[in-house]
Symmetry: C2
Subunit: 546 residues, 2 copies
């Protein structure tokens, strides 16, 4: 027996239309290079209609990709709505990738139109020729006189001559709305093609009281870029909520952010841990009043407990730790204290808040161990985190489906986790960095942390080394502190570790180095270490890597 409810498609259109009718006077602020731009939801709606007419006039067909290469600005926001609501697909290119990667991604996506911020035109000019699918380049946010090295159209000119009204089409909820590529740290970037339905549901979830709980009375500052996983979905959820939106433009310097928070009375900000570290330093100068700020959503990497504690104690600001991936739209887990934790000692509360949190409603999570069994939720066993839900991808765009990424209807995150009672997820490693020793898993990150607790150690990376009997065994690469250099021995460290980890976790070898190889984003380059030490016979303890 079928229910008798309206067959109402879940699309981006009602988010846009409702906002324009109900919140017409609400403000959207962009902090541009040459000053602050302000307008209302009403203005935003009219310009979004104009942009849709422009796309139509330029011959954009349903489903075609309209790409952006842009900062967090109101014009980028206009594209966020005009493109999917008119039936095309918004493709946000990540300006931080290497030019070759951008070319690869734009070619793979077959982008038809590209909207680019004026100050990113030089970046684009270098690669424009290599993306022949792009029929038109449209320059947004022209703040300075400029001679363009490539043929371009001008966003404001196009909008000025377009009609200010547009009849938004009725779209199927499973139609593609938006396309984001993974950053491709471990292989080729892969595309995640979000549907209207997934955007609708993901935005509702973000606004639930136990996720980020945005209301009309909030002022939201998404510092996470709109070219990175749709700024975590905030351009959709904030307009849905009718909150004031503050877009930081290209300037993400800590003091500039602190200025914005104070001037616009921001209540919720969203960004990665390095942003919060920088902001903390700026705030500690004591020159800003950020009392309006109640919550900083932190994702993208684990946030140290100390930062959570300092924000709370010094500024009364809650850091809300969340976890997700491009493949999960990205909302996966979110960390909040529960009712039974309200009387815990502060220390214990901060330790908990540094976990990745519990699955948001709509996301199912499980963790599968080396034997393929689901691990119990007692915070001890290790397993790979797998998720499923209406805003999780079922396949990558234009890629064959593989058991590396999917498993019986679940998406394999590649994160190794423990899960505590109540569903609190703690990421302990990436599967590729695990040491798989005799059917058991050893977390490289936990072993590194234990080694780095030694007072003579500056930094340490642990990687798997092939082993005949156990398949893999841990190998530790250790950089001693200057005053311990030459004094710290393998025996010292093993003695130290024996008290801290299980005996079968003890590294088979410890190699002392002057420095560890790092990736462009500052992480240990474990791939390089693995390649270096996987096959050759190890010689001595002072082997140089870089």
């Amino acid at each position: 027996m079928q229910g008798l409810m309206m067959d109402y498609p879940l699309t981006v259109k009602p988010i846009l239309e409702r906002a324009s009718r109900i919140f017409a006077r609400k403000e959207i602020v962009t902090c541009g290079a040459s000053g602050v731009h302000r307008y209302t939801y009403g203005d935003f709606y009219e310009r979004t209609c104009r942009l849709a007419n422009v796309l139509y006039q330029l011959g954009v067909k349903p489903g075609e990709r309209v790409a952006t290469l842009a900062w967090n600005t109101h014009t980028h926001l206009e594209a966020y709505y005009a493109v999917p609501c008119s039936g095309a697909v918004l493709h946000t290119l990540n300006i931080r990738l290497a030019p070759d990667q951008i070319v690869y991604i734009a070619r793979h996506a077959e982008d038809a139109i590209l909207l680019v911020d004026q100050n990113l035109v030089p970046l684009l000019a270098r690669i424009r020729d290599q993306i022949p699918s792009i029929r038109h380049v449209i320059v947004m946010n022209e703040e300075l006189p400029m001679e363009y090295p490539i043929p371009v159209l001008h966003y404001e000119d196009l909008l000025a001559s377009a009609s200010p009204s547009f009849e938004w089409p009725d779209l199927d909820e499973n139609r593609a709305a938006s396309l984001c590529y993974t950053s491709g740290t471990t292989g080729r970037p892969k595309g995640c093609l979000y549907s209207h339905r997934s955007v609708f549901l993901h935005s509702m979830a973000l606004n639930m009281a136990d996720v980020f709980g945005t209301t009309e009375r909030d002022v939201l500052l998404p510092i996470v870029p709109m070219f990175h996983v749709n700024a975590w979905g905030t351009p959709f959820s904030v307009i849905m909520a009718g909150a004031k939106l503050v877009l930081p433009g290209p300037n993400m310097a800590p003091r500039a952010l602190a200025d914005m928070i104070q001037a616009e009375k921001v209540t919720i900000a969203a960004g990665v841990p390095t942003i919060w570290l920088g902001l903390l330093a700026a705030l500690e100068e004591g020159k800003h009043d950020v009392s309006s700020l109640r919550m900083c959503v932190s994702g993208g990497a684990a946030i140290p407990e100390g930062i959570i504690e300092t924000f709370k104690k010094k500024f009364g600001i809650t850091i809300c730790h969340a976890w997700g991936m491009t493949e999960t739209s990205p909302l996966g887990t979110v960390c909040h204290l529960r009712s039974n934790m309200m009387d815990w000692p502060e220390e214990k509360q901060h330790e908990l808040m540094a976990l990745q949190g519990t699955p948001a409603f709509g996301v199912e999570a499980r963790a599968i161990n080396a034997e393929g069994h689901e691990i119990p939720w007692h915070g001890k066993a290790l397993g790979e985190l797998q998720v499923r839900g209406p805003w999780v991808i079922r396949e990558y765009y234009g890629e064959p489906n593989s058991s590396e990424s999917f498993c019986g209807g679940w998406f394999r995150t590649g994160d190794v986790v423990t899960i505590r009672e109540g569903g609190y997820v703690h990421i302990v490693d990436r599967t590729k960095d695990l040491i798989k020793s005799g059917g058991e898993w050893i977390s490289s990150i936990e072993l590194e942390s234990a080694i780095m607790e030694h007072p003579g150690v500056l930094e340490a990376a642990v990687v798997a080394k092939p082993h005949e009997k156990w398949l893999e065994r841990p190998l530790a690469c250790v950089v001693p502190k200057p005053d311990s250099n030459g004094k710290l021995t393998q025996a010292d460290l093993l003695e130290f570790l024996r008290l801290r980890v299980a005996s079968w976790w003890l590294p088979d070898e410890i190699i002392f180095m002057d420095a560890l190889p790092k990736t462009s984003t500052g992480k240990f380059n474990k791939r390089l270490l693995r390649e270096q030490y996987s096959s050759k016979n190890l010689t001595g303890s002072q082997d140089r890597v870089l």
Copy 2:
């Protein structure tokens, strides 16, 4: 181009399963006749599995209706999940209806199984024979020894002998989950058949920060009955949020409610205005500490501004006014102050909070005037409120679709409203009570209010009287206060009204009475007045009606 997100059905199952895994230790409290019953979400889940096994053993087929005749208790909650999650349809019978209506509804729904609270068995016994589709009656909440006048099974016995685990089937999201009938004040009761999808989305919407914003840290008391529009969806949304749930059982006396709020530290309560009036009186005795209570959700009828003000000023409690119908699951509009109203004078704030509020995200609203045009949102023009959205019905169960209820994909609410800028809806009348005079609408309620402002008037009802030229003209039925009886004249009143309403709103006739006819729920019986005065020639001013 289709998106590539998981085809994850929106059903009740993930609400239930996630709650059992993530919130297993959370409490559900029932205040029964013979004491307080407490158990955890974990216990609730196990018993829900047992109930599903019982239904299976009793031969309940997919889509069959399992009815309840029950108060707000944990066993009723078990049925809320076991029935739809096992593939059957939960049908909550309204115990407050006349026995004939219950028979009509149960026969129309063809209920197969009936779960009944022990103290409602006498009510059932009178009509059991007239509902032959019911194969089994199962008695819940047996608190006293009783000789049953009809054959029954015993809920606790059945559960005790059933398996505590159940493999919930994967269901299509458009499958029927739950069936509620309208109260039928203006005709035969009609069934609204909610789908799994609509329950899922409606529950998410309820938990959005700008609707009721329930979190895991809340303690929720649904005073609105679970036999009335699914207690406004709270049994689903509260379990979704993982909040502590307090169920009042059959005792809704104000002091008992105040006791529960104090003892269980309730943070959000939901009920109709008469409940809040009663609670206010109980609280004013000064014997209760209800400082935990932050919000009372009020729906079902307009709430007087004075109540909102008193709750806020005396107890710091916000009354959140919401509007909805059985046909809208019921969430339609919800009233919150906006950011631009925060510095308004209190009086103006309370006036706003007495409005029905703005459409919740997911519900589209418009109002259509007598000429079939949408009215502007300036708070003046009158129109019939129409809504659409994923939790609004597209047709009634087992009824032909009619233009009386639907209009071009919109549901006609039958409420006449004005809509202010920003989307604030104000219900001014029911369409059936409007006076349609020469293509313009006159609100009977507004005219009544103006008449009742006269110091000599006790009460007044205004109804339409047929008119040759204008089709309808207003007729006022007025009960003078005792000391004005015989003194107050039609001329006095018209003179008084001339300053307060448009001249074409002035009643053609005013009839003085000793009392107005009322319905069983205490409202003016306008149908009776219309019948009385529609055809016959009016004689004099002292015509008696009752």
